[in-house]
């Protein structure tokens, strides 16, 4: 059973900023058929509601269907049951204004960094007149201006990921999904990237949904944290964090942070063990 929030946490942006999408998912279910014919329920029933412009993280054990959920919310996949809507309008397929940053390296090795970032813009039906400026701004914003003409193969993993984020940002998403984007990075880089992400969130005003297996990351970055159960994944609980909009990774030193992560793990531990025994 999921718990829907009744009150926005303090510090959340006032509704009506217009940029961030309100995302609602009801009764999402997804099943797979295995080679031997048995049906596996990977997800659901899942209900989720994201306020416009909020930063929402989801933590859950491995195999709980987080990535499936991301696929459905981004429109890359369709649910077997249930629906998703943006600002009240249901969608199937990738809607306008959605951006997704993947965990795997999605850089195009045959293009330079600049061409990578410009890629999405160039393929639009109508090329924006300020294409070059937007690309330059995104490169600067992500600290890649000096590497604009390099190839992705010459960059470190973290920089490649920043480039992929830049490529997504340049399209001005109103709903930004991130599927364990910093999974391949070391802890310190992760913390820095977390601060980057908050900066991006504040500047763009987009609704952000972050999937992560790091409880610390979820606790320090988000307005609310959702806990997913083991497979089939459902939303067990949603915790507001109460941080202000101007937060950064230093919230980790507050006692409230410890309480929050403690509670998250308490809730999550059983699910993780279930998932581990289940051999996922």
């Amino acid at each position: 059973m999921s718990t829907l929030p009744t009150k926005l946490p303090a510090g959340a942006p006032a509704s009506g900023t217009g940029v961030g999408l309100r995302i609602e998912a009801t009764g999402l279910v997804r099943r797979y058929t295995r080679a031997d014919g048995t049906v596996l329920q990977a997800l659901g029933p899942l209900d989720l509601a994201l306020e416009p412009g909020e930063f929402f993280s989801i933590v859950g054990p491995s195999g709980c269907g987080k990535s499936t959920m991301i696929d459905i919310l981004s429109g890359l996949a369709s649910p077997d049951e249930g629906s998703v809507s943006a600002d009240g309008v249901p969608y199937r397929g990738v809607p306008d204004g959605v951006g997704l940053v993947l965990q795997e390296d999605a850089s195009f090795p045959w293009l330079s960094v600049r061409d990578n970032v410009a890629f999405g813009l160039k393929r639009l039906a109508r090329r924006p007149a300020d294409l070059a400026e937007r690309v330059d701004h995104a490169l600067e914003f992500m600290g890649l201006a000096d590497f604009a003409n390099a190839r992705p193969a010459q960059l470190s993993g973290g920089m490649r990921q920043r480039m992929c984020i830049a490529r997504t940002l340049v399209l001005r998403p109103r709903f930004l999904l991130l599927d364990e984007p910093f999974g391949a990075l070391d802890q310190q880089t992760r913390l820095l990237m977390g601060d980057e992400l908050l900066r991006i969130w504040r500047e763009t005003g987009a609704t952000v949904l972050l999937i992560t297996h790091s409880l610390d990351e979820a606790a320090m970055l988000s307005d609310r944290v959702g806990i997913m159960s083991a497979r089939p994944g459902r939303l067990l609980e949603v915790l507001p964090t109460g941080w202000t909009r101007e937060r950064d990774s230093t919230v980790a030193s507050t006692p409230a942070f410890g309480a929050l992560t403690g509670h998250l793990w308490e809730r999550l531990r059983g699910e993780s063990m279930k998932s581990m025994r289940g051999g996922v």
């Binding site: 997804r30 797979y32 058929t33 080679a35 996949a77 077997d80």
Partner: protein, 254 residues
């Protein structure tokens, strides 16, 4: 790779795929034989009958044994020589770097053109057949073996040391099994090419052997024998390859 949807593709791991393919090939063969007529192409039935006659009779036994003998000898040299050289080049980085482009270039040369040279040097007979087989088969064994050794993940050696294994134990129980699948791949290619080389050698050598039988059958327009021998070689080659593949799977755990 994740399964993609509830109605999505099922990953099939049934071994029946090989049988289905074999049936398909036989069917196509029969159709082609019917379309082209017996004067052009013998069908599966006459070919199989002729093959049984060849195998069961005593008349062709010396020829079959000659081929088998030359092939096995060439194979032994290709494999053993190849693996030893692979070990040598694989563990010595400089030597490996010097040798690899040479071997790769040699691999790409149409070795048939070297055949007259081999004949001139070795004369007619088994020597040239075996040499030719080795020339064909040894290079992939070396190249793949070298690559396998060079790409061996350091973690295996470290694990062996962490478990306090002696060098010999480490080699036998950890390192060799780790590179076995790749070595076997090279050996499979080596086997196919050695067979090819030995056969081509026989086709020119004028000596006894399956290749020679094939040339004689071509000259006599003996289609049944041609296809019978083709069938024999195909079955033999596929069976040998398949067995090596099974051994390789045992080591890679798939």
């Amino acid at each position: 790779m994740k399964l993609s949807s509830s109605t999505g593709r099922r990953l099939s791991l049934r071994p029946g795929g090989g049988v289905a393919a074999a049936v398909l090939v036989v069917v196509l063969w029969q159709v082609a034989a019917l379309a082209l007529g017996h004067d052009a192409l013998a069908g599966p039935v006459p070919a199989t009958q002729r093959l049984f006659a060849i195998l069961s009779g005593a008349r062709y036994r010396p020829e079959l044994l000659a081929t088998l003998g030359s092939f096995l000898l060439a194979l032994a040299i290709s494999w053993c020589g190849g693996l030893l050289l692979a070990a040598w080049f694989g563990t010595r980085r400089f030597a490996g770097e010097v040798a690899e482009p040479l071997l790769v270039s040699f691999y790409a040369i149409p070795k048939v053109t070297l055949y007259p040279i081999v004949l001139l040097i070795c004369g007619l007979g088994m020597g040239s057949k075996v040499t030719f087989g080795v020339l064909h088969g040894i290079v992939p064994v070396i190249l793949v073996g070298m690559a396998a050794i060079r790409n061996l993940k350091p973690v295996y050696a470290r694990t062996a040391r962490a478990l306090s294994l002696s060098p010999r134990a480490a080699l036998v129980h950890v390192l060799l099994p780790a590179i076995a699948p790749q070595l076997l791949t090279g050996m499979r290619v080596g086997l196919s090419l050695t067979l090819l080389g030995t056969l081509i050698g026989e086709m020119f050598g004028g000596e006894r052997g399956v290749g020679h039988m094939l040339v004689r059958a071509i000259n006599l327009a003996d289609n049944d024998t041609i296809m019978a021998l083709a069938l024999l070689l195909m079955v033999f080659a596929i069976a040998a390859n398949w067995s090596l593949g099974r051994v390789a799977s045992r080591f890679s755990g798939s």
